[in-house]
Structure formats: C-alpha cells, structure tokens
C-alpha cells in the first residue's frame, strides 16, 4: 500500500452570504505499507475532512489523492472506515453487522460466516454473535465496528476518533487491542484522535494540524507503539520521561492554536 496526498485543498462554499472556508490547504502527506499515522489538532483543523478525502467521500477542490498509483475517485473496499459511533446497523445482530461488507460484496453465505467467525474470535466477541448490537457496551460495539472494517481485508484502515466515545479504562484497553491487531495484520492505519496521549502511544507518525485554514504544521516520528509491542507495559510507555516531554510539546502547539481563535 502506498498513499500519496499531493497539494490537497478543500474549500467549502460559503452559505448565507458567508465567505467560503478553506477546510484544508495544500496538504502533502504520504503513507507507506504498515504505517500508523495519527492526526491530531485543535477542533476545526480539518482532520476529519482529510479522512473523508482519503476515504473518497469527499473530492478535493484541488490536488490529488493517489492510492497505489491511481487517483482516488470515490469510496472503495480497499479502504475501510471505523467511525466514532452511529455506524453499526441496529436491525442486524453482531454477526450480520460484521458480515455486512462481505454481504454487500456478494460473498456466499458460508464464505461470509467463515471470515466473520475468524474476526469474532479475534476481537473477543464469541458468545455475542446473535446479540443485538444495541445491547452491547460501547467498547464491544466498537470492536464490532473494527471487525466489520477488517472483514473485507482493506489495505488501509481509516479510524475517525474510534475511541472517542469510550470511558477512560475501556479506551486504554481498546488502544492496546488496536495496536495488537495492527501488528498482527500488518495493515496501514490512518487514525484521528483528540487525545494527545492516545496519539503518541498509537502512532508511528504523528501529524499535527492547525485550523483556519486546515493544514499540517508539525510531524513527529514516534517510537512508543513499538516499545509497547516489544513488551513494555502501556502505562510505563506513557509514563516515560521521553513520552511526557513530547506530549507537553504537542499539547503546547494545540493549546496555542486553540487560543489563536
């Protein structure tokens, strides 16, 4: 997988006489196989717009998004999205939610259950296959969403604040689970979060964005997820002086942006 975003600009036309807003200005970003790129920034910095561009839900006003050599023209099964919430289908049970993508692609019933069984087990959802999704806890619902996204074997996983609606403890567990999945499946991930700690812990690269107009202002290479996957406990990683130092640096950038409103 290789993703190249070249000079992507998104301008939303102004409504009710207001001037048009430049949601993204001249974004350049590239991702290689196995990258875990995290995007963070003050609200209105365009990180969700950027994810929508990559997903193909939105076309750039200018510039290009190139995935494996060809321009992204719209959404496709090579990129799956995990949303913060509201994305599961409450009229389907857990199994049918997980099989949803496979069903849309016309896979046979047996093939679907085989793949679904694998991800049900992988995400610890065994025993809940027949439950309605609205009876699950937030953490489990999110695992269903992740399982669903993985079933179609995407090259790139797009995660739009997937853990934003979870409580703090569940969230830390889910972070570890996602890192483990990322490591085991070798997928590339583009991940959006509001939490600096989460961003630093999860990513191999951090992209800090600033609002008005939305643009990338800083990039960091991060060693922390590797430390975790090599056996250091999540809390010790997050409590290391190195981690805290970079955390404060990123926080200072974001706070400065928030105050500049």
């Amino acid at each position: 997988m290789s993703l190249k975003i070249e000079n992507a600009t998104v301008i939303y036309p102004g409504t009710d006489g207001r001037p048009p807003t430049e949601a993204l200005q001249q974004i350049n970003l590239s991702m290689d196989d196995g990258d875990f790129v995290v995007s963070i920034g003050a609200s209105g910095c365009g990180k969700s717009t950027l994810l929508n561009l990559i997903a193909g839900f939105l076309a750039p006003s200018d510039g290009r998004i190139i995935l494996d050599g060809s321009a992204v023209e719209g959404p496709g099964a090579d990129r799956s999205v995990v949303f913060q919430k509201h994305a599961l289908l409450p009229w389907l049970n857990v199994r049918n939610n997980i099989e949803f993508g496979l069903m849309l692609q016309g896979n046979a019933k047996e093939e679907r259950s085989k793949v679904a069984d694998h991800y049900i087990k992988l995400l610890g959802l065994s025993g809940f296959e027949d439950s309605p999704v609205y009876d699950l806890s937030g953490g489990m619902q999110q695992r269903v969403g992740i399982a669903r996204a993985l079933t179609c074997d995407p090259k790139l996983l797009l995660m739009d604040e997937p853990l934003g609606a979870l409580d703090a403890l569940t969230r830390e567990k889910a972070q570890e689970l996602i890192l483990q999945l990322w490591h085991d499946t070798g997928k590339s991930v583009f991940f959006i979060t509001h939490s600096v700690e989460e961003a630093l812990f999860m990513g191999t690269r951090l992209v800090v964005m600033s609002p008005r107009p939305g643009r990338i202002t800083h990039e960091f290479e991060l060693p922390f997820s590797k430390q975790f996957l090599e056996g250091t406990s999540a809390r010790s990683v997050k409590a290391s002086p190195e981690f805290i130092e970079i955390r404060e640096e990123v926080l200072a950038i974001i706070f400065a942006d928030e105050e500049a409103v």
Binding site: F57, P75, G76, S80, V81, F83, L89, W91, M103, L104
Partner: protein
C-alpha cells in the same frame, strides 16, 4: 416527624404502587423520582379511573333524568341497542356485515395508500427531482378536509365503491408518503458512509441502510395514516352507501336514533384501537431497536 406519621410512611411503602399510596406519599421513595425526567411514570390506573368516572357521570346524568335520552341515551340503552342490532341486524344487514364492509373499505384504501405512498415517499426523500414534482400536489391537498373534495370524487368517480375507497385512500396517502419521505433522513451519515466504503452501490445503500433505518418512521406513519382512514370513513359512507358502520351512524342520526349513533362511534373507536394495538405489536416485532441507537 411524629411516630404515627412514620408508621403511615411504612404502610404506604408496603402498598407502594397503588394509586392512593402514590398520591398520598409525601416524599420520594426512590432516588430520582422527584428530580427525574418530568412526565415519567405509569398512567394505566389513572386512565382506567378516568374512564370509570366518565362512565359514571354519563350514567348519573341519564339516570337522574337531567338530560333527555334523545340527546344523551343511557349507557345501558347503548348496550341493549348493541345486543339487539347484533341479533337482528340494522336495515336488513347484520352488524358483522356492516363492520366487514367498513373495515374492507378502510383496509383496502390503507393497503393501496401504503403500496403507493411508501415507495413514492422514499423516492421523494431520495431524489430532489421526484420531490420537486410530487411535493406541491401532496402539500396542496393534504390540509383540505376530505368532506370538501368529496363532491369532486362523486362527480369524477360516481357513487360506487371507487369514490368511497378513493376518499379514504387520499386521507391515508399523504401522511404515509410524508412519513416515508421523512424516514429517509433517519439513517446516520456514518451508516451510509460505512456501506459506501465497502463498495456498496446506491441501490444497495437504499436497500440495506436507508430502508431499514426508515422503518420506525414508516410504521409510525402507517399508524397515523390508518387513523386518518377511520376518521374519513363516515364521510366516505355519506356517498349512497347501503352498508357500513358510517352508513349506520348517518342513517340512525336521520331517524334520531341517538343510541345507534353512539354505538356506531364506539364500534369504530374499538376497531381502530384494536388495529392500533396490532400495529404496536408489529412495531415491537419489526423494529425492536427503535430509539435504541
């Protein structure tokens, strides 16, 4: 607080749930009962009490002879009338036949309205073109009382079944179509995006996301629609009908048979209520997830 009032408090708690104890209770026994969501609580007992009081007042004013039976016949006379019509029929047809004929008119109009209104409403929600075309006529005729365009129905379609069913159809159609149209907006953008990101076609998104997400609104619209259908029944049966509950009520009113009028009203209300119960049951079966996500 005195000892006696404490004892009273205990008694109230042991009988908790009964109406009297709840009305008499000084302070909440469960957290949140006073400072919770306004309007929560069970109303069954109170509703039953209201019905009982209304029946009693009705019985009282007739039994005391305060109002002439021509204006308000006694509850007993309604029951007697019901039994006699049940046994002997009304204007040569059994009560069952009247009910079946009316129900047939309402349900055939209802089914027709659903068969056309739901797909059209969905199409209106999905496509600005179709919405643009159908919005003006529907919005134009929707607020008009069916009685106002009844003469047109007769002029255009005669005095047969067609104009009766069509009149009811029109009253059901608008709420069903508009409900289905509004239902299209029920799907969250995340659900739609999720489907597209798996490579879904527009048709698949409609079939597997928009339509199921719209089901709660569609069922609610159907419940509202059938209600309009029953309200239009009597108007429809003004057109040269010889059978039907609406016809029965209209004929009885011409002969000042007030007891039959009231009985007919109660029968219509009863059928409509039973059907609504059925719809609620269907709602729980079809969309158990309603309001849960």
């Amino acid at each position: 607080m005195s000892v006696t009032s404490n004892e009273n408090g205990k008694k109230e708690q042991s009988a908790s749930g009964s109406l009297i104890s709840r009305l008499a209770r000084e302070r909440p026994t469960r957290p949140g009962e006073t400072y919770g969501v306004p309007g929560s609580g069970d109303t069954l007992l109170l509703s039953l009490a209201t019905i009982a009081v209304l029946l009693f007042v009705w019985w009282l004013i007739t039994a005391m002879g305060w109002v002439k039976p021509l204006f308000v016949p006694s509850p007993q006379s309604i029951v007697t009338k019901f039994i006699s019509i049940w046994q002997d029929g009304f204007t040569g047809s059994s009560l069952w036949l009247h009910i079946l004929i009316s129900a047939g008119r309402v349900f055939s109009a209802f089914l027709l309205a659903c068969a056309i209104g739901i797909p059209l409403g969905l199409a209106m929600g999905m496509s600005p073109l179709i919405r643009g075309i159908f919005d003006p006529p529907i919005e134009f005729y929707r607020p008009i009382p069916p009685l106002a365009y009844l003469p047109l129905m007769i002029i255009w379609f005669g005095i047969g079944e067609t104009s009766k069913v069509l009149l009811i159809f029109l009253s059901v159609f608008a709420p069903v179509a508009l409900g289905a149209r509004a239902g299209v907006r029920s799907a969250a953008i995340e659900q739609i995006h999720a489907a597209y990101s798996f490579g879904a076609t527009r048709w698949q998104v409609l079939r597997h996301v928009i339509l199921p997400a719209a089901m709660p609104e569609i069922i609610t619209a159907m419940r509202i629609g059938i209600g309009f259908g029953w309200t239009t029944l009597v108007a429809a049966e003004m057109v040269a009908a010889t059978k039907g509950i609406g016809y029965m009520v209209l004929t009885a009113s011409q002969f000042l048979q007030t007891a039959v009028v009231i009985m007919g009203i109660v029968v219509i209300a009863g059928i409509a209520y039973l059907f609504d119960l059925l719809m609620r049951l269907i709602e729980r079966k079809v969309v158990p997830w309603k309001g849960k996500m």
